[in-house]
Structures are given as C-alpha cells and as structure tokens.
C-alpha cells in the first residue's frame, strides 16, 4: 500500500497553479474543470435544440428535469461514496426497496411514511458503510452482495408484484405537480440537496474529513479522524438520497415493482456522478456539477430520440456520448494515473 499511495499522492492534484489568491478561498481549480460539466450539458442541449427547435418550445427542459431528478439523487449519493474512495452498487436497489416500502406505508402512515422510509433506507446505507468500514470488506464486493439481498427483499416485500400507493398520494403530488421557474419541484429538491452537500463538503469538519479520507485515508487516520465513521456517513447519505429517489418514484408512478421504474438507476447514477466531474478515485467531488452530470445523462436518450436517431442505434449513441462527455469534463493532470 505504502508505495502506491506514496506515488499517487501528488498525482491526484490538478496541474494548474494560480498565483496567490484571496485568503479563505481554496485555490481556484482549472476553469474548465469547474465549468466543464455545465458547458458539456449546454453544448448538448443547444445541439438538440438546434436540430429540433420544437424540443425547446415544447417544454423540453421541464421534461428533461423530470427525468434527471431521480438520476441526480442517486448520483449525489454515489458521489458521496466515491468521495471517500468507495463505490455503492446497491443504491438503485435501495431506491426500489424504498419505493415499495413507501407504497405500502403511505396509506396507513400518511405523512410519516416518507420519514419512516427514509430512516429505514438510511440505516440500510449505514449498514453498508459499517460493513465496509469495520468489516473491512471492499465496497465493490460488499455492495454487489447487498444489491442481491435488497433485490430479494424487494421481491419478498412486494410479493413479486406491483405495489400501489393506495391513499395519501396527494402528499407527494407537489413533487411533480408544482413547478418553480418552469421546472418541477422534484428537480429543485435535488438541486437543494446538491447545494447542501456542496456546503457540507466545503464548510464542515465532516466534509473536510471525508475529503481527507478520499485523498489519503491513512493520513486521515493518523490525524485522529474517525475515518471509519466518515465512511459510514457517506454510505448513509447514499442510502438517504436513494430513499428520496424512491419517494420520487412513487410521486411519479404511484406504484413500484422490483424491476420497474427506478430499478435501473445504478449505471446512469454512476455515469452522472462521473460526467459531473467526480473522481472515481475519491476526494474530488463537486455536487453542483453533478446536477449538470445528471442533466447530461438524462438528455442523451431523450435528445437522441428527439433528433431522430433510429431506435436500434440509440444505445450506441448513448455509449459514445457518455465517453465523450467524461473525456471532456474529467480533471486530469500531468502524470496522473488514470485507472
């Protein structure tokens, strides 16, 4: 370990150096690295709008944000886990599990149901983190395992069928029913959460601790940080955000099933986090940029369909655009090791 970490240490830094700047602010990173995800999204959006102007006039942006909202939430959770150097493969399964639980409890519990659901899945996320941190199991393997367990749990809890939210659905209606600046509340919820996470990472001890863990866990450990609990926090946040995404699933569909809406958010979530500039190696995350990452990831299939790419070739386009978007937005520095 030592050798590797020793060599990778300076590598994870961006190359550009700016001269002295105002105290209290971190050195501004490469401008493109900061603005890249936004620029890529904007470019794609403009491209789609030019090729199919009706997309813009028909409220394309609102539709896009509806689709992007659950991806954004899952991506934010994933980014928190990536930030401490781990990965969470189970978070989409948590989304479905949360949605099924919420559908079943919304009637009997009413307004308490979302709270109960979120508390439950936050605990599940924390359990993931606990096993990773204290059981010292690689997160990739652990969450692959919990993915299977959660899938089974969803099937068992839902009796392998679609579960409907029977009453109190009006509680969730504003999420997609109300709009602010033309965009649905659900998306703004995601944006607010992104901003809070940004502030958390930047202005709190816990946030800085998580950054330290992601950059050099040993160093953080020797500084007396509770690195293991910080990991638990990251996974718990991933669970919590997946729970919010589960609420969106019910708000949108009023029903959930094990392989239905929300079950395939894992890969889009990871892609959105990385397109949003999150370093897969940990320690570098800008939650605000993940908003644009999620928008980009949601835009590609919609945009491809809108500009009339034949259905058979759409996944090809999706693959290429995701690669290109990451290639454009990734922060790289001279000599950095990319894995």
């Amino acid at each position: 370990m030592s050798k590797k970490a020793l060599l990778e240490q300076p590598a994870s830094l961006p190359a550009a150096e700016a001269p002295k700047n105002k105290p209290g602010l971190r050195r501004p990173r490469n401008l493109w690295y900061t603005a890249g995800p936004f620029a890529v999204f904007l470019a794609l959006f403009v491209l789609v709008a030019v090729l199919r102007p009706a997309f813009l006039t028909g409220g394309g942006l609102a539709i896009l944000t509806v689709q992007a909202a659950p991806i954004l939430l899952v991506a934010l959770g994933q980014a928190m886990v990536l930030h401490v150097g781990s990965i969470d493969l189970s978070n989409a399964a948590i989304v479905i599990f949360a949605a099924i639980i919420l559908a079943q409890t919304l009637g009997p519990l009413g307004p308490a149901a979302p709270v109960v659901t979120i508390a439950l899945v936050t605990l599940i996320g924390a359990a993931n983190g606990f096993l990773v941190a204290f059981g010292q199991i690689p997160s990739f393997a652990l969450t692959l395992g919990t993915l299977g367990i959660l899938q089974a749990a969803s099937l068992v809890v839902s009796n392998a069928t679609t579960v409907y939210a029977t009453a109190n659905t009006q509680l969730l209606a504003p999420l997609f029913g109300t709009a602010l600046a033309g965009l649905p509340m659900a998306f703004w919820v995601g944006v607010v959460l992104a901003a809070s996470l940004w502030a958390m990472l930047r202005f709190t001890k816990a946030g800085e601790g998580m950054t330290a863990v992601g950059l050099n866990e040993t160093g953080a450990l020797f500084s007396g940080l509770q690195t293991r609990w910080l990991k638990v926090v990251a996974f718990a946040l991933s669970g919590l955000l997946a729970g919010v995404a589960g609420i969106l699933v019910i708000a949108q569909a009023g029903a959930a099933s094990s392989f239905g809406l929300g079950s395939d958010l894992l890969l889009p979530g990871i892609a959105a986090a990385i397109v949003g500039g999150t370093a897969i190696t940990g320690g570098t995350t800008n939650p605000i940029n993940i908003v644009f990452g999620a928008l980009t990831v949601a835009l590609v299939p919609i945009g491809a369909a809108a500009v009339g790419v034949t259905p058979q070739a759409q996944s090809l386009v999706y693959g290429l655009v995701i690669i290109a978007a990451v290639a454009l937005t990734m922060s790289r520095s001279r000599g950095e090791v990319v894995k």
Partner: protein
C-alpha cells in the same frame, strides 16, 4: 551510443557525461537553471543542496524521466536525448531514485532486470520470460553487493533495507547491459540504509569508480566528503560550487548549500523529571513485536529510543499512539490507565505522532497546507460542525512564518511542497495543539537538509520547553545524545539498557554495544 566508432575522437579525457546549460521549469518554478557540469570517467561526484534545490529534478533529466526545456547533454562526447528511461539505460546510466521504485508484487530478479525485460533484451525470447537466466543473473549481481536475497522472492516480502539493496543492484545492472563504462546515479541511497550496508555501498561505489563513474546525492556531508572525489553544490536550481574534496570542509559545504554558517551543536540542558509522568508504560507487550517494555516520560523531558532495524522501537511508539495494538501491560497517560486505546483517543489526550512515512501517514497531500494544519484538533479552527476558514488561514500564515515554510502559500496542496517543508507543516499541525502532552517523533529529520533539520530540532525543543514530553526515534546516535534526557536501547523487542544523561554520558559506542 551503440556505435562507438562514430564518436568524435576526443581522447581519454572525454567525460562520461557532460551537461551544458540545462534548464527545466515547472510552470513558474525554475527547478533547474542553466546547469553545466561534467562527470569525468573514474570519478565519484557528489551532488548536494537544500531540499528543493533541484537535485532530484536534475537526476530525473539524466535518467529520461523528464525532458529538459533547453540545454545539451553529452554522453561520451556525443549529444544524446533521453526520451524514456530505456534510452538512459542504453547509454549506460543506472539510477537509484530518492523514492524506492520497485514493483512490490514482482520478484527480485524481475525488478533487477526490468529495464532489460521491457526492451526486448536477451532476458526474454519472443515475449516469453527466461526465468532461469533472469534468476541467475540477478543472483550474481546481488552477490556483488553482498546480499543473499533469493532472487525469486517477491519484493513486497522484503524489508525496507533489502529493497534498497535491490534498488542498488538494479542500478548496477547497467554494466551488464552495455559495454560502455557505466554511470551510476544514486539519489540519497544511504538515508535509509544501515551502517553495514552503507559500508557495502561505499565499497561498491569505489569499485564502480574503477570501471565507470558515479553521481551521488546525499544530505550527509561527512559521507559525501568521505566517498566523493568532487562535490557539486546546488542552490535554487543553479550550480553554485564545484569543488574537489580536498579543498573543503563540512562547514564550507554547509555554507555553500544554505548560504549561512552552521550553528555549533549544543546539548540541551537537561531537565529534571516531574512528579506525574505524561506517559508511562508498564510491561507493555505485543506478541511478535515487543515485550515487557516499561518506561515513563514526564512533561518537559525527552526520551530517545535507539535500536537496530527490527528492534521493535517503532512498534512501541505506534502502540503508544494507538496505531498498533498491544496485548499485555498497561499504558497510562497523564496518570490514568487507558482503555480501548485508539489514535483518536490519543489525539484527544494531547498525544502527537510524527511518522517516518510522511507522505502516506503524516499528511494528506491533496489537501492544502492550511487544511492539513487543522486536520488534527480541528475544533480550534471551527465553530460547531463548521470550519472557520479565515481563522485557519491566519493560523497557517503564522506557523509558516514561525517555521520558515517555503513557499509561503498555505493554499498550495501540501503534496507540492518539498519534503523538508512538508515536514515543517506536519510538525506545525501537531505543535499548534492547545494541550500538547506527548510528542512522538519517528525519524523526524529523515531526508531533511541541514537547514531544515535545525528548524525542526528547534521546534522540538520549543515544544519540550512548552511542557511536552518528547519521545524520539532518532536518525543517528548523535542526534539521540544531543536531544535526549534519557536514552533507551532496544534489541529484539526488549529494552537492553537505559541511560539517564543527567547521570552518565554514554558514547555512541556504549549504545552500539547494547544494540547488537
């Protein structure tokens, strides 16, 4: 290089390597400025300079890791360009880098032959390894440096010192690879070596002089004067002196490097033991690492633990700090026995630990210097869960001033400071604690230039005067004799002798006797 007949006829005096006006900058940093120097055949050239003077950068240029921005390099009288490490190897240049650069999951033999393996040499046939031949060759080279490591061993299973020997063996392999007289470059090879290995290395360097030449970087001026024929001094990226050994003394070299006089070394006046020890261990043991270790240190006192590699003194220190477990005995901090000891608790109790593996354990290179500074004891730069960035930067600026950290930019990621300056920041992050009770220093001066060493030593003393107990694992016995009030000698995990320096004044030899 391959065709010697094309070389200009410059006679026997052609230097092995000649640099003319070589420059290299990174952004606005001029790491190497207009350096011209010659390494004649059959000569050992020493290269010294402060931390960050540009030595490693120069060597990386010579070994094909960096391309110079300008200037000419001539090998055996012909201009060369090293685009990749193999080019340098092909020109007969072998190197031991400052940081170990072995592949820990490959075998010793593979590591030694790696340059050959990666350049279609006889070591492989059509991409296939010739294991027998590799192992035999490696065994032969290892024998030359007096090492008995099995070439088939995985490098990861070797001790640090053995790994250094493998590094050196690899550098020596260049004379197998080419027929030209080799140039072997050694970047601080001795800072991690034991005395007997250093002796072997010295012998090997002398025998290398017979066939080729050596460029040798070290911060140990005595060693440089003993081994080298000539010494080149760098400062701020430039060569400021190029002198023959006979012409200078250690003090001259010091002055040339730092630009000021070296301070005379004074032993600190001993301080008396206080009533309650800041830290006390009784019968501490950890199976396979150390056993029955008892000692105590009171506030304001300093304890040095000396011992050979594998004596277990590092494990004891790590156990004190909660980084490693212990399975018997008791540990008392400020008079109270501890339970469920961990690094976090240690930090809370005012213990500080400055590890020898600075870049991995001592700091988070990706965070800025200021952020590193408040990584421990963040409460003092925070309000509730929130950070006070301004307060922190102010604290950082203050400490930068106090320890003369260069550059004075607390926003720069710590990983980009030079080793010596990194060490100063690492010291500062512990020293700024409001209630520092014990400070454990594991080789705090490793790799530091003499100037930086002085600053760090001053800080240790200041902390001690401020009431902290100091536990020191020194680089040299002299360091122990100079800094400590009490010296413990450890061997094979047990304490073999104790010297209270206010009572007796042992010599290095006394200590050595108990160590082996």
């Amino acid at each position: 290089m391959s065709n010697a007949s094309l070389a200009p006829r410059t006679g026997v005096e052609t230097p092995a390597l000649r640099l003319a006006n070589v420059s290299k900058s990174f952004g606005s940093t001029h790491a190497v400025k207009n350096v011209s120097l010659e390494i004649p055949r059959h000569e050992v050239v020493g290269l010294i300079g402060e931390n960050g003077a540009g030595k490693s950068t120069l060597l990386k240029i010579l070994t094909g890791l960096y391309q110079p921005d300008s200037g000419v390099i001539e090998a055996a009288g012909r201009p060369v360009r090293f685009r990749k490490p193999q080019d340098a190897v092909a020109a007969g240049i072998g190197v031991v880098h400052q940081e170990q650069s072995l592949l820990s999951n490959l075998s010793v033999a593979e590591n030694i032959a790696m340059n050959a393996l990666s350049s279609k040499d006889a070591a492989t046939r059509g991409g296939f390894y010739r294991w027998k031949r590799l192992n035999a060759e490696a065994a032969e080279i290892l024998a030359r440096v007096g090492s008995t490591i099995d070439p088939r061993t995985k490098v990861g299973d070797l001790s640090f010192v053995d790994r250094q020997m493998v590094e050196i063996a690899r550098a020596l392999r260049v004379d197998e690879a080419v027929h030209a007289a080799p140039l072997v470059i050694l970047d601080e090879p001795t800072s991690v070596l034991e005395r007997n290995e250093t002796a072997i290395l010295e012998r090997e360097i002398r025998s290398l002089r017979e066939i080729g030449s050596v460029l040798f970087v070290s911060h140990r001026l005595d060693e440089v004067l003993r081994i080298c024929d000539r010494v080149v001094v760098m400062r701020h990226g430039e060569v400021v002196a190029d002198v023959r050994r006979e012409e200078v003394t250690e003090d001259d070299l010091f002055r040339l490097m730092i630009g000021q006089e070296s301070r005379a070394r004074v032993r600190r006046a001993g301080s008396a033991a206080g009533e309650t020890p800041a830290v006390e261990v009784r019968g501490l043991g950890h199976r396979g690492h150390f056993k029955d270790v008892s000692f105590s240190v009171s506030a304001g006192r300093s304890l040095a633990i000396v011992g050979a590699m594998g004596s277990g003194r590092e494990s004891v220190c790590r156990a004190l700090f909660g980084a490693e477990p212990f399975d018997s005995g008791t540990l008392e901090v400020a008079g109270r026995p501890v339970q469920g000891w961990s690094m976090r608790k240690a930090v809370r109790k005012g213990l500080a630990y400055i590890p020898s593996e600075r870049k991995v354990e001592g700091m988070v290179g990706g965070l800025s210097a200021a952020e590193n500074l408040t990584l421990v004891h963040p409460r003092e730069a925070a309000r509730g869960p929130f950070l006070r960035r301004r307060a922190r930067v102010k604290a950082a600026e203050e400490w930068f001033e106090r320890l003369d950290v260069r550059p004075r930019d607390p926003h720069l990621p710590l990983g980009r400071f030079s080793g010596g300056n990194q060490q100063k920041v690492v010291m500062a992050k512990w020293l700024r604690a409001e209630e520092l009770s014990v400070i454990i220093l594991d080789h705090p001066l490793r790799g530091l230039d003499p100037g930086a060493s002085q600053t760090v030593n001053d800080q240790i003393r200041a902390a001690q005067e401020g009431g902290a107990a100091v536990i020191l694992l020194p680089d040299t016995l002299e360091e122990a004799l100079e800094m400590a009030d009490e010296i413990l000698v450890m061997r094979d995990g047990e304490i073999t002798a104790r010297f209270d320096l206010s009572v007796v004044a042992p010599t290095s030899l006394d200590l050595l006797e108990k160590m082996v």
